[in-house]
Subunit: 249 residues, 6 copies
Amino acid sequence: MTTRVDGRNADDLRPVTIERGWSAQAEGSALISFGGTRVLCTASFTNGVPRWLSGKGSGWVTAEYAMLPRATNSRNDRESVKGKIGGRTHEISRLIGRSLRAIIDLKALGENTIVIDCDVLQADGGTRTAAITGAYVALADSIEWARERKFIGQKAVPLIDTVAAVSVGIIDGEPMLDLAYTEDVRAETDMNVVATGRGLFVEVQGTAERAPFDRRELNELLDLAVAGTDTLAEFQRTALGIDLPGATR
Amino acid sequence: MTTRVDGRNADDLRPVTIERGWSAQAEGSALISFGGTRVLCTASFTNGVPRWLSGKGSGWVTAEYAMLPRATNSRNDRESVKGKIGGRTHEISRLIGRSLRAIIDLKALGENTIVIDCDVLQADGGTRTAAITGAYVALADSIEWARERKFIGQKAVPLIDTVAAVSVGIIDGEPMLDLAYTEDVRAETDMNVVATGRGLFVEVQGTAERAPFDRRELNELLDLAVAGTDTLAEFQRTALGIDLPGATR
Amino acid sequence: MTTRVDGRNADDLRPVTIERGWSAQAEGSALISFGGTRVLCTASFTNGVPRWLSGKGSGWVTAEYAMLPRATNSRNDRESVKGKIGGRTHEISRLIGRSLRAIIDLKALGENTIVIDCDVLQADGGTRTAAITGAYVALADSIEWARERKFIGQKAVPLIDTVAAVSVGIIDGEPMLDLAYTEDVRAETDMNVVATGRGLFVEVQGTAERAPFDRRELNELLDLAVAGTDTLAEFQRTALGIDLPGATR
Amino acid sequence: MTTRVDGRNADDLRPVTIERGWSAQAEGSALISFGGTRVLCTASFTNGVPRWLSGKGSGWVTAEYAMLPRATNSRNDRESVKGKIGGRTHEISRLIGRSLRAIIDLKALGENTIVIDCDVLQADGGTRTAAITGAYVALADSIEWARERKFIGQKAVPLIDTVAAVSVGIIDGEPMLDLAYTEDVRAETDMNVVATGRGLFVEVQGTAERAPFDRRELNELLDLAVAGTDTLAEFQRTALGIDLPGATR
Amino acid sequence: MTTRVDGRNADDLRPVTIERGWSAQAEGSALISFGGTRVLCTASFTNGVPRWLSGKGSGWVTAEYAMLPRATNSRNDRESVKGKIGGRTHEISRLIGRSLRAIIDLKALGENTIVIDCDVLQADGGTRTAAITGAYVALADSIEWARERKFIGQKAVPLIDTVAAVSVGIIDGEPMLDLAYTEDVRAETDMNVVATGRGLFVEVQGTAERAPFDRRELNELLDLAVAGTDTLAEFQRTALGIDLPGATR
Amino acid sequence: MTTRVDGRNADDLRPVTIERGWSAQAEGSALISFGGTRVLCTASFTNGVPRWLSGKGSGWVTAEYAMLPRATNSRNDRESVKGKIGGRTHEISRLIGRSLRAIIDLKALGENTIVIDCDVLQADGGTRTAAITGAYVALADSIEWARERKFIGQKAVPLIDTVAAVSVGIIDGEPMLDLAYTEDVRAETDMNVVATGRGLFVEVQGTAERAPFDRRELNELLDLAVAGTDTLAEFQRTALGIDLPGATR
C-alpha cells in the first residue's frame, strides 16, 4: 500500500478534532477539523416552523454551507458581493440538510425548526464531509438545549441515529480514504459517502472526474468509506458523551 | 414482481422516443421523451473557448438545464422572474455537464465550445436522466456539424464513448427502474446512475429520501440501472446511426 | 407585387399550425407555428386571485413570454442566469397580457386567475404575434376546463371575442404581411397589430426602424394586418371548434 | 365639444414650458413641463462608442427614463432598492431611444455616444411624451456643444429632423389631446404618437385599455396627435432658436 | 485667511436657497441649494407603521438618498440598472434617517410613517449635508399637513428641535467651511457635522482622507461647523416661518 | 465611577487576545477577541493592482467585513442568500479599508494589492473596532510575507504607523470605553474612534442614538478613546514583535 504525501496509509483518516460548544451564542455548536480543514457548525433553534409546515405537528431541519473568502489557498469573491450563490454552495447546503433529516424523526422534534450553519474557516479538502460530521454534534446539542427548556418533551427521541460523512477516491488506481485537497485534485474518481452510526447509507455520490469507474472500484471505495464513517461516529460519541439519545449503536 | 401503476414491470423503462434534429436553429438537437417527460436538448457550437481555457489546445463542453414554468402539474415561478437560479437547477446543470465531459476527449475537440441546453417541456419524473440521454444525441450531432465545417479534424475522435442516465429507486421495499413522478415521491431511496455505453459509471447519486439503505439494496439498484442505461444506449445508437464515432461498443 | 424570399406574396401569411392540447399538464395549451416560429402556450388556471384583487368579484389574466436560449440562430444567455429580465421580454409579456384581457370579461371569469406562459421554442420572426394567437387557444381551453369543474358558472361568458395578432412591415417601400426574421431586420417600418375576431383593434404598435412613415403607409399596413388577423381567427376557430363561447363572429 | 376638468378643449395641449440648460453639469439639458408633469432631460456626450459599434464610423444615441419615488401621488419604491427595473421603465426607455435615433444620422454623428437621461420629477400623465419632447432639446444642445469642441465636424448634420410626442385618448367616446393623469385612468383607449417636425410618424402605440377601437376612432386620434406634435415642434424651435440644424421644417 | 476659489472666506457658506413646497404631489417638500448643489427633498406621509413597530404607539421616520445619473460632472450608471445600491448611497441614506430621528419624538408622531426622499439633481460637494438640511423642511411641512388632517393631535409636538448639517475640511492645512466639490477632493481631512438648532451634536463624522489629524485640528473644525449649522438653522426658520413647533431655539 | 455589568471600570477595555497566524492559507492573519467578540482577519496579497490603478506605481489596500449568520444572539439571514449586501456591512467594510490606507504608503507598497477580510465569528459589540485592530496585524504580516518573496523591496516602508480602533459611549450620562453589546444598545451616544499608534485620528464617528450630545461630552469620549487605542497599539506591538516596520512610536 502506497504511503501518502502526509504519511498516511490509504485507509487512514486525517487527525480529527471536535471542539463542542465553540460558540457562546448558538444553541449548539462545534468547530470540527479534518486535518487542515476547519468548519464552524452552529445550530439555531427556533420554536415554530415555516408556514408551509405549520399545523402538521412536524419540525424542520435545514442547513446552509458557506466558505470564508480566504479559506482556500487563493481568495474567492464573496457570494454576497457577487449577489448570488454558486451551484456548488447550493448543492452542499442541500446535501447537509438531507443528511441530517435522514437521522431525525421530525414528528418527535415537534413544531420546532433547527438551522445548521456550516462555515468553512479553512479548507483543505473534505469540507462537506467535515461539515456533515460536525453538524451532527451541533444538532444533537441544540436538541438537548431545547429539551431542557421544554420545547421538546422529556421522552421524545428526535435523533434516531448518528450521521457522519467522509470522502474516498481513486488516485493512481488506488482507493484512498479522506482526501486532502492536493489528493482531491488528482483523483480519477471521488465519492462522498454519508452513513449513519448503524452503518446504513444516507447518500452515496460518486463522480468520475477523469475516468469512469467500474463496479469493483465502486465496491472498494464503499468499503473504505464505511470504515471511515464508523471511526467518525466514535469521535462524535466521544465529543457528545456516550449516552446521548440516538448516539448509541 | 409487483406490477406498477402504468403496467410496467419493476425492470421496465417507460416508452422512449428520440426526435433527432427537432430544432432548425441549433447545430445539434433532440427532443427526447421518457414516458410523459419531454426534454428539448440543443447543442450550440462555437469556435473558440472561454478565456480561462484559451491557448491550451483544449475545448469545453458545458450544459444548462431548466424547466418551463408549466412543465409540472402546478405552475412554478420562472427563475428569471425570481432573479436567481435555484439549487436544484444548478445541481442538475452541473451533473449534465460533468456527464458529457466524461465521454469527451477535450483535446480532440480542439479549441471549440459546445453548450448543451436541456429545457424540460413536460415533466413526469426522470427529467435529469432524460436530459443527459438526449444531450448526448445533440452533442454528437453538433460534433459532426463542426467536422463538416472543418472546425474539427477529419480524424479527430472527440467522442470516446456514449453516455446515458436512468433513475432507480426503492418503493415499498422493491427496487424499480425509471421512476415516474408519482413513484418518485413515494420512493424510500432514489438513485440516478449515469453510465457509458461501455458500462462504466460516470455518476452514482443515491439518496435516502425516507429510510437509509443497506449495501444489498445499493447493489440491486445498481444492477437495475446498468441494464437500463444499456437499453438507452441502444436507443441513442438507433437515433444517431450505428457507425457514429464513439458510439460503437 | 414582389415575390418574397420564401415565395409568398406580400399579403400571404406563412403556414400556420396550431396543435391544441400539446401539454398534458396544463389546463389549456397550444403549440403554434407561424412558419419557422414555434411557440408553446400553456394556461395555468388557479381558483382565487392575487391579494390586490381579492373580494372584488373579478378575475385576472396575465402572461409571461420567454425564449429558449437556442430558439434563435445564435445562442442567447438565459435571463435566469443573467439574474434579470430584459426590456424586450417585459414588453412582450405585458403586451400579451393586455391583449388577452381586452377580450375577457373579468367579472364573468369570477375570482379566478389564469396565467398564460408563452415559451418560444424556435424563433423566426413574429414570435410575439404567434404567442398572442396561440395564447388565445390555451386561454379558451382553460376556461372550458374550469367550467367543467364548476369554477366558472355554466352560463358565464368570460370570453367576449377572439383575439389574434400579426406583424406587418414596409420592405423596400412595399407593405408586407407576417415578416420572417430576415424580412424583419430589413424592414424600414414594422408594426404589430392585435385585433379581435370582430375586427376591432386592441393594440397598434408601429415603429419606424429606419425611416419615419407617412399616413398613407400607415393605412396600407393596417389594411394588410386586419386581413391577416381575420385569417388567423379562422385558424383559431378551426382549432377550437366553431361553437366555443366568444369565438363566433 | 366637451370642456375638460381643467377647462381645456378636447384639442388643447396643457401649458408647455421648456427651461433649456437647466443643468450646469450636462452637455445639454432641458426641464420640460406639460402641465403638472415635469421631466429633467440631460444629455451626456462621450467621444467614442460602445465596443459593439467600434470602428464602424457610426455614433450611438440611447436613453434612460426613470421616475423619482414621489413624483406620483403616492410613493413608489425605488427600482434601485427593489434591485430590478420594471417592465414599464424598460419599455419607455427603449421608446425614447428609438424616437431620438429616428431623427439622427448616426454616421454624421461620428464615433460619439450621447446618453439622454429623462428623470420625471413630477408626474401628471404624459411623462413619456414630455420626456421625448424635452430629450430632443437636450440632444440638440449636446450636439452643438460637441461641434464647438470639434468632436463633430462643422458641416456635419447629425440632426435630420425634430421629434416630439404627445398622448391622445378616447374618454366617454370623445377623442382628446394630451391626457392628464385623471383623464388617462378613465380613457377607453390611449395612444402615444411620436412624430417628426416634418409630420412623419416615428411611433404609433395605441392600446385599448377598456374597449377595442375601430378604424374611424384610430383616424381621429391620429389627426389630433399630429396637430399636437406640430405645436410641440414650435415650442422646441422657440426654445432652441430657429436656425438650429435640423430644426427647420 | 486665504480667499477661496469662489471668493469665499474660510468660514463662509455658499449661497443657500430653499424652495419650500416645490412638489405638488408630496406632503412636504423643498428644493434646497448649497451653491451648485441642488437636492429635491420630498416627504411622504403614511398613516400606519411598518409591521415591526405595529401596536407600540410609536411612529417612524426614514430616508432614502440618491443621485441622478448626470448630477455630477461625468455620468454615473444608475443603481437601478446595476441592480444594487452602492455603499455610499446606503451610508448617506442611513445618516439622513438617523439625523431626522434625533429631533423627532416618535411617540408624539403617533403610529405614522414619514419617508423622506432626497434626490440630488445637481452635485457640487456637500450633497449629504444639503440633503439633511432640506429634509428637515420637508419633514416639518409633512407634519403640519398631517396635523391639519387629524393624523397627529393638535397638541402633539413631534418635532423637538431643528436639524441641519454642513461639511468642514482642512485644505492646505487650513480649516474651511462648506466644501465645494473641487475643495472636497483636495481636503486632507473632511468632516460632516449634523447639529440641532439648540447647538447639540447629532453626528460627527471626521475622516482623514490624506493625513491623520490631531486634537487641535478637530476642535477648529468643530468650531467652524457649529457656526455653519447655526446659520443654516436660520435659513430653515425663514423658509418655514418662525413659530413652527420645534423650530424655536 | 460606576462599576459595569462585567465588573469593568468605565475606562477599562475588555480582555483582548490576538492569535497571530491563525490561518494556514492566508499571507497574514489574526483571530482577535475583544471580550466575547471574535473576528478572523485574513490578508490576501496579490502581485498587481486593479485596472484603474495600473501603471501608476502605487498599490492598493481594501477590506471586506461580514458576520457569520449565527455570530449574534439570534440568527440573521446570510447576505449571500438575500442576494445583496446591507448598508451596515458596506459601511463597515469601507471604514476598515479607509482606516488601513491611512497608515499605508501606497507608493512604498508598489503595484501590489492586499485584501483584508474581517469575518465576525462571534459578536458582542465592537465588531468593527476589533476588526480594524486585528486587520492591522494581518496586514503587517502580509507585507513581511511579500517582502520575503521580493514583491516589496527590502528598504520599502509601506507601513508608516499602526492603527487601532475602539468604541466609546455615554450610558446613563457616563462616558465608557469599549462597549459590550448590552451596553451598546443602552447608550445615548456612541462613537467609534480610529487612531494611529502616534495618537492621531483617522476616523471619528460619533452618533447620538437617543440624545444629542454637547461639546464637553464629545471631549470626554475622545479622551477615553485615545487611551483605549493606545493600549490596543501595545497589544498589536506585542503580537507582532516590537521592531516591526511602522510599529514603533
